[in-house]
Amino acid sequence: MKKSVLLGTVAATAAFIGGAAMAAEGDTLKAVKARGELICGVNTGLVGFAAPDASGNWAGFDVAVCKAVAAAVLGDPAKVKYVPTTGQTRFTALSSGEVDVLARNSTWTYSRDTDLKLDFIGVNYYDGQGFMVRKDLGVTSAKELDGATICIQTGTTTELNLADYFKANNMSYQPVNIDSNAEGEQQYMAGACDAYTTDASGLAATRAAFADPENHIILPEIISKEPLGPAVRHGDNNWGDIVRWTLNALIAAEEYGVTSANIEELATNSENPEVQRLLGASDELGAMMGLDKDWAKNAIKASGNYGEVFAKTIGEETPIGLARGLNAQWTQGGLLYAPPFR
């Protein structure tokens, strides 16, 4: 009987994970419509990207993607249930079907796209990994961090980049493994680590939440490419298209000057044929994905176009103060380039 007990244990585990995966197959669009609610995996709390405000309403740059998708699919940006995920739980939550879409500053990498069976549908923020230190530490370059203690979120690409960077520069460090940005912030503030490393945008967002942001500097070295983007499960191509083109609609809207202010007006009397197609005035682009013809209009109305979202959540007017940089439109010398709506 010993052996069968063992097998039973293995089988029970297998079933536990397998059972959750049942939700993964099938038609996500149908499931979301039937549920009347989009389930969106977000960060556990990173000001500017995804964080609940005082009254518990989620807001931020990544949250705007959730709202846009909900508006495109269900016609109402409020019909979203936000599921906070840590660096460790996010991909399991997505592949097990716990969330429909993951909008949680996750880096698009080869192995995640292929081996983890995720589909990254695009990039909503072009980022790179940086380091933050206290000003009074007297460090001005990441090259001076030899022997330092560094706080790092476990289960992230930044964890691997950190190991590679210090190895490549023949330096040593002591990692302090933390689970979430909030914990990293606490450890860093308490001085339990000399430097905190994550995506530069995350550092800026974290620093903005400090009481004394002027006492902390983000070192100039950017040690990696971190294209952050929303992800969906591999295999449901129509759902992937919906999320991909919702993001593209936000980007294209900025390019064509469609804002939340003038969208109603442009929807009826725009001269630009592409804007007409985008906003559903001509052609039936929405029907090709099983959505209404107003899908893109609703998505853009949810929180505005890409530029508006950026300015409202993480832009230079906000405490986080990120410049557009690489995230400007291709026409402005940036990398944002939405394929044509045709």
């Binding site: 069968s4 063992l6 097998l7 039973g8 244990t9 293995v10 089988a11 029970a12 585990t13 297998a14 079933a15 994970i17 397998g18 059972g19 995966a21 049942m22 993964a24 197959e25 660096g87 460790q88 991909f91 399991t92 592949s95 192995s111 995640r112 081996d115 983890l116 069976k117 530490l137 961090l145 030899d146 022997g147 330092a148 203690t149 476990t154 289960g155 964890e159 691997l160 950190l162 190991a163 590679d164 190895k167 460090y173 002591q174 990692p175 302090v176 493994n177 933390i178 689970d179 606490q186 450890q187 308490a190 001085g191 339990a192 680590c193 000399d194 499960r233 591999h234 295999g235």
Partner: protein
């Protein structure tokens, strides 16, 4: 007299499986067995199908790939270039280290407190009760987090030890520095280092450690021989030769000679750059986990010890006192040996609990098995099923080993009926 013959063997009918008492228990067992097997079959089939739908396979090949992440103060040499398998072993060793140290400390604490709770000193006994009830009734995770938070928030950063007039100063004759990252303690240095024994796989053991181990184990056996000899002399002549100085010499002289030969000395930690170097940095995550596990499990062991002592009949201690035995002799020679029979079986469960509870290490960033294999490796490779199954098997094996070893001990101390 009517001849009562055995009832003629009734022909077997299918309904007898259910209504005949002779067959019914068998029928039920077979039925349940089939159900259980069917359930297992469904589980495995379901898993295989779902994995196929997700386009995943069941493959442990990821263990051979480069891990790519670092682990703070690994017990064996480890770099980010090593494989996930080696990271797993590092995690397993960390689990074993904290479990073994936790079990030892919890046992010492538990026995002390358990005995103290029965003390005649009212205040002392009540204080122990407060300790036991506090730790037994608050979840372990909270204790771990509280201890860790105290370390992080109260202790100064290494920076505070810098400069002409530092904000913090080292304790124990400038040998130990408490910081909010680790406790820097002196390490042992040798002026006459004999080098390392290479066990392969970059696992090195210093010859000096082996020499000390040999001397101490040899001394243990020599001491036994001396005691046996003394017993023999006593049996033969009635006079017991004095042994204490022989034993003391056996245990200390060779060690002292080795210390002199290798030039063993303490290397105090020294602030270099961002952190202390030279000594040994004991991570706060480890200390917090160890301390919390010890205090928590110690409270349970204290109750077990108390129950064990109370289970020994009062007549035993009265008889011992009547013979004129001192109270502490009574405890050590009469009460505890009898109490052990009651104490050991539940104690095994507590050791198992402590070992499994050590997986809460992830909360304080101590990279145990759950932190390496079940944390970073699982996350970087996306092999949830394989990692969890492997982790369950390892914990199962660990628990069976502990319980097996403790049962051997239990068989040695349990009541021997002759």
């Amino acid at each position: 007299m009517a001849d009562i013959s055995a009832p003629a063997a009734t022909p077997f009918r299918l309904s007898m499986l259910l209504y005949d008492r002779r067959y019914r228990s068998m029928t039920i067992q077979v039925f349940v067995f089939i159900l259980v097997m069917a359930f297992a079959w469904w589980l495995v089939g379901n898993t295989i199908q779902n994995l196929r739908v997700m386009g995943k396979d069941f493959d442990f090949g990821f263990l051979g790939q480069r891990a790519g992440y670092d682990i703070p103060s690994p017990p064996i040499p480890y770099t980010s270039d090593d494989t996930h398998l080696r990271a797993t072993i590092v995690g397993l060793l960390n689990t074993v280290i904290v479990s073994v140290l936790g079990c030892i400390a919890a046992t010492v604490l538990g026995i002390t407190v358990g005995v103290a709770r029965l003390s005649n000193n009212w205040l002392f006994a009540r204080l122990m009760t407060i300790y036991v009830e506090m730790f037994r009734n608050i979840p372990l995770l909270l204790w771990i987090l509280i201890v860790y938070a105290i370390f992080t928030e109260v202790l100064p950063p290494p920076n505070a030890y810098r400069g002409e007039d530092p904000a913090a100063s080292m304790i124990l004759f400038d040998n130990v520095a408490l910081t909010n990252r680790y406790t820097a303690i002196p390490s042992l240095g040798m002026t006459n280092n004999p080098g390392d024994l290479d066990l392969g796989y970059r696992i090195l053991i210093n010859w000096a450690v082996i020499a000390f181990a040999v001397v101490l184990i040899g001394g243990w056996f020599l001491r036994k021989a001396v005691l046996n000899h003394a017993q023999k002399v006593q049996d033969a002549t009635g006079d017991r030769p004095v042994t204490w100085w022989k034993n003391l010499a056996i245990m200390t002289v060779p060690s002292l000679l080795l210390i002199w030969y290798f030039g063993l000395h303490l290397v105090p930690p020294e602030l270099k750059g961002f952190n202390f170097a030279g000594g040994l940095n004991v991570q706060n995550g480890f200390v917090a986990l160890w301390l919390a596990l010890t205090l928590y499990t110690g409270a349970f062991i204290a109750e077990i010890v108390r129950a064990g002592i109370l289970a020994v009949s009062k007549g035993q201690s009265e008889a011992a006192f009547a013979l004129g035995l001192k109270p502490n002799w009574t405890m050590n020679l009469v009460i505890l040996p009898q109490a052990l029979r009651v104490i050991i079986p539940p104690l095994i469960s507590q050791y198992l609990n402590l070992t499994k509870n050590s997986s809460l290490a992830i909360a304080v960033g101590y990279m145990d098995l759950r932190g390496t294999l079940g944390g970073t490796t699982l996350n970087q490779t996306g092999r949830e099923l394989e990692a969890i199954v492997l982790m369950m098997l390892i914990y199962l094996a660990l628990s069976l080993i502990i319980s097996g070893a403790m049962n051997v001990y239990n068989n040695r101390v349990k009541l021997k009926e002759r």
